[in-house]
């Protein structure tokens, strides 16, 4: 045992009291759960309500068979917690698990099987899937091995950034996919370390928050399917199938084979923070990788099935997640598990926020009924450690619960605004009857979030789940054949439009229209009130070849192709300038919904709607043109955005500006690059002050300012 640098402090509990299986032990402390290094040994603590006995199983690192099996003496049990300190362990070179004995009676919910070695739900590290894609040895009895982890990372002066929610520009990406492509040119492709090398790119893009698809340990090889065309193995690429909730995925770390994924991930977070970028984790508490009755027993099933899962009266698994099982989130013990987990990621990894996959499930009672006042959601909202983190709900589930706008927020929760996505997509493709709802969405969806403010709405047009932006304008239909499910997987309601040809085409007109449509989408997204979220790669027209459900595609369909940074530099530049524009104009980020009331300083309302004629919006069903003018608070700023999804050009009459201001052109997606967009502050004054011709399917953005003033 190493001596600390300062003088060794002698503690009474540093001495063993018992001997079990040849190891010196003493009763451990029930809290905290998990394996924790204590003076002279390691304290193990695990909960099981119905287990009749519990055995700690210890392996030398990587060995197939245990070196020791230590049954917890009955006097080491406090309530339903088994806790034991084992002395003399080399914490770095052991793996451990538990055997829990108890009743096997699925009808009453119990599935104890002492033959199984179970992972610790609180394991801070997991071994067994150390390097991505390496075929595991499935003959081993214990696949996902808990490991002990030192928690003494040197954070220096790093703290979470605390960027106001309304100022966020979120970038949703995948740790592996972002740098796995050979074109990434990073030292360790597909890892936390690789992503760290791309921080300058993210900074230059202007985003200030990165949202990572699941990074909790999962098993990419748990997908049994193969690509029907190539025969290649398909993976669980996205990772929404958690094996262990406290452990970062080893296969995402260049140092995972050394068990140093925790430090590598923390180093990434530390450097992202230093670059002014927050980190939000996509977390999956609605189900686990244990599946239904046929699924594997990994941890919860064998430790306390009836506590951790929602079960039918017959003992089967409720399936509100669409994946076989549903976590019993509002059971008091499970609530604490979720809370402990999130606290761990905030306190020990400096995570800034969370996006909750299928979060509607977090509001269901143990029998599946939606709760009016879900204790878990309230608990997370008020928790002292989580108090300033961002909490974002995917406010629906696979059981049909759709709570967009109604998610119990406790003044804290934001939502992925699925209605924003659907409305803007529909408008972009030119559907009739959308203009009225578009206005509501642009203004931060006051119909959904009147009491919560605009930052309750996370606005997005694309996400990992569905078409990429380039595919949204290139495909009418999904093309998911490579997933091996006969094109039956993935959503059918995409509101996409291929611009005249399905998939790749050499037609320059179609290509130009697609590029324009992508710019239109980005221009609308970044001038809408609410938190914008950009899908990684959309800024360079990343394509998934029409696949709208690439959960299993660990290949070029999913990976960020860095050669597109040069090839599609026009779109990248457009995105960068749009993000910079948003940062410059506070009225786009206002936390309160606009009211249409006059602003004292300029005599203009905070928001006004316009059509071909100034002050006369056309709300009719056939209208495909809408312009919005926003007037800032205090900085005399005016931003006018006209959106035309009609296939014909229109003459716009521009509203008159007070105080010697005139309209200056920031962006016109109908113009050829480089005139499509300008650097914010260097907008070009319009020659004809009162009019502007907006082209077919185009967005025009103007700022009202005095000619010699850079805003």
């Amino acid at each position: 045992m190493s001596e600390p640098a300062s003088e060794q402090v002698l503690r009474v509990d540093a001495y063993p009291t018992h001997e079990v299986g040849g190891y010196r032990v003493r009763a451990g402390k029930p809290f905290p759960f998990g394996a924790n290094v204590v003076p002279g040994g390691v304290s193990f603590s695990v909960f099981s309500d119905q287990a009749t006995s519990m055995t700690l199983v210890i392996y030398k690192r990587g060995e197939p068979e245990p070196t020791a099996e230590l049954e917890f003496p009955q006097e080491f049990r406090t309530g339903s917690v088994f806790a034991m300190t084992v002395f003399g362990l080399d914490h770095e070179n052991i793996e451990y698990g538990y055997r829990a004995d108890g009743p096997y009676d699925p009808v009453t919910g119990h599935r104890f099987d002492a033959r199984q070695v179970l992972s610790d739900p609180y394991a801070r590290l997991i071994a067994g899937r150390d390097v991505w894609g390496v075929e595991p040895d499935r003959s081993r009895g214990y696949q996902y091995r808990s490991r002990v982890c030192l928690q003494d990372f040197d954070w220096g002066d790093d703290t979470p950034l605390g960027i106001p929610a309304e100022d966020l520009v979120v970038y949703e990406t995948h740790v592996r996919g972002f740098t796995r492509h050979p074109s990434s040119q990073v030292t360790a492709p597909g890892t936390f370390a690789g992503l760290r090398e791309k921080i300058p790119y993210l900074k230059e893009l202007g985003i200030n928050c990165i949202e990572l698809l699941p990074v909790f340990e999962f098993d990419e090889s748990d997908n049994p399917r193969t690509n029907p065309e190539t025969g290649e193995q398909l993976f669980d690429y996205w990772g929404y199938n958690t094996v262990s909730f406290f452990a970062p995925k080893a296969g995402y770390a260049a140092t995972g084979r050394y068990g140093m994924q925790g430090d590598e991930f923390r180093t990434l977070i530390k450097d992202l923070h230093a670059a002014g970028i927050e980190v939000i984790l996509d977390v999956v508490f609605n189900h686990t990788a244990e599946g239904n009755e046929q699924g594997p027993t990994i941890s919860f099933k064998g430790l306390d099935n009836a506590t951790y899962y929602m079960l039918t009266p017959e003992g089967y698994y409720f399936n509100f997640s669409g994946t076989g099982n549903t976590v019993n989130c509002n059971h008091p013990v499970v609530r604490n598990f979720v809370l402990d987990c999130l606290r761990h990621w905030v306190a020990d990894y400096h995570i800034d926020g969370f996006r909750f996959d299928l979060a509607a499930i977090l509001g269901r009672s143990p029998d599946g009924t939606p709760l009016p006042n879900p204790p878990l959601l309230e608990l997370l909202a008020y928790d002292p450690v989580l108090r300033h983190t961002k909490l974002i709900a995917e406010a629906w589930d696979a059981g049909g619960l759709y709570e967009v706008g109604n998610f119990p927020a406790y003044g804290r929760w934001a939502e992925w605004n699925g209605k924003y996505r659907d409305t803007v997509r529909s408008f972009l493709k030119g559907d009739p009857g959308v203009t009225g709802e578009l206005a509501t969405r642009l203004a931060g969806s006051p119909d959904l979030y009147s009491s919560r403010g605009t930052s309750a709405s996370v606005n997005f047009l694309t996400a990992h789940d569905g078409f990429s932006l380039a595919d949204l304008v290139s495909y009418n239909d999904k093309h998911n054949e490579a997933n091996g499910e006969g094109n039956n997987d993935g959503g059918n309601d995409n509101a996409s439009w291929n611009c005249g040809a399905e998939g790749p085409t050499d037609d320059p007109e179609v290509g130009a229209l697609r590029l324009r449509q992508m710019k239109n989408a980005l221009a609308i997204l970044f001038t809408s009130q609410g938190i914008p979220m950009l899908l990684s790669g959309d800024e360079v027209a990343r394509t998934q070849q029409g696949n709208n459900n690439t959960y299993c595609q660990d290949n070029e369909l999913s990976w960020f192709d860095w050669s597109q940074v040069d090839e599609n530099s026009e779109l990248l530049r457009f995105t960068r300038e749009m993000i910079a524009f948003r940062k410059r104009h506070r009225e786009l980020r206002s936390t309160s919904h606009p009211t249409g009331q006059l602003r004292d300083t300029l005599g203009l309302p905070d928001i006004s709607w316009h059509g071909e004629r100034a002050w006369q919006p056309d709300w009719s069903a056939e209208s495909r043109l809408l312009a919005v003018a926003r007037c800032g608070t205090g900085d005399d700023d005016v931003v006018y955005a006209a959106m035309n999804s009609h296939w014909e050009a229109h003459d716009l009459e521009l509203p008159a500006l007070p105080g010697g201001r005139s309209w200056h052109l920031f962006a016109d997606t109908g113009a050829e690059a480089p005139h499509d967009i300008r650097t914010p502050g260097a907008e070009l004054e319009l020659e004809n002050a009162g009019k502007y011709l907006i082209g077919p399917r185009s967005v025009v953005i103007l700022v009202g300012r005095t000619p010699d003033t850079e805003l």
């Binding site: 190493s2 080399d90 914490h91 070179n93 030292t187 140092t255 050394y258 140093m260 430090d263 180093t267």
Partner: protein, 124 residues
């Protein structure tokens, strides 16, 4: 796997040459060796040329030494870090904390190109 350490002293400071692996088993005794050397207050170089692996606990031990040295105002330099160890230290962020021989060598090279007078001034 064991770790052997040998100590050398010269005019400029102390050099500790390590051979083997620095892990949870060996780092305790390494720390016992290093801390008194740090407390002597002379520049310390740790030669890792013959170190094949530094584990998570090993990296922490080196960082503890570095922090103790920082506290005492003593310069600690890692030297001869192998490519693999350097890769691990870089990916996990530990490399950022340390001065390494390569950086020192590069600095010396720059200093050599600088007129002696200016270099001396900079050193002050």
């Amino acid at each position: 796997m064991t770790l052997n350490v040998k100590e050398r002293r010269n005019k400029t400071g102390i050099v500790l040459v390590a051979t083997g692996e620095i892990n949870s088993e060996t780092s305790g005794s390494l720390l016992q060796t290093l801390l008194p050397l740090v407390r002597e207050g002379r520049p310390l170089r740790i030669d890792l040329t013959a170190v094949t692996y530094v584990s998570s606990a090993g990296l922490r031990t080196l960082l503890v030494v570095y922090r103790e040295a920082q506290h005492a105002g003593v310069a600690v330099t890692l030297y001869g870090v192998s490519e693999e160890v350097r890769f691990v230290m870089s990916a996990t962020g530990f490399l950022d904390f340390f001065s390494t021989g390569e950086a020192e060598a590069a600095a010396a090279k720059t200093a050599a190109k600088t007129p002696a007078k200016t270099a001396a001034k900079a050193a002050r």
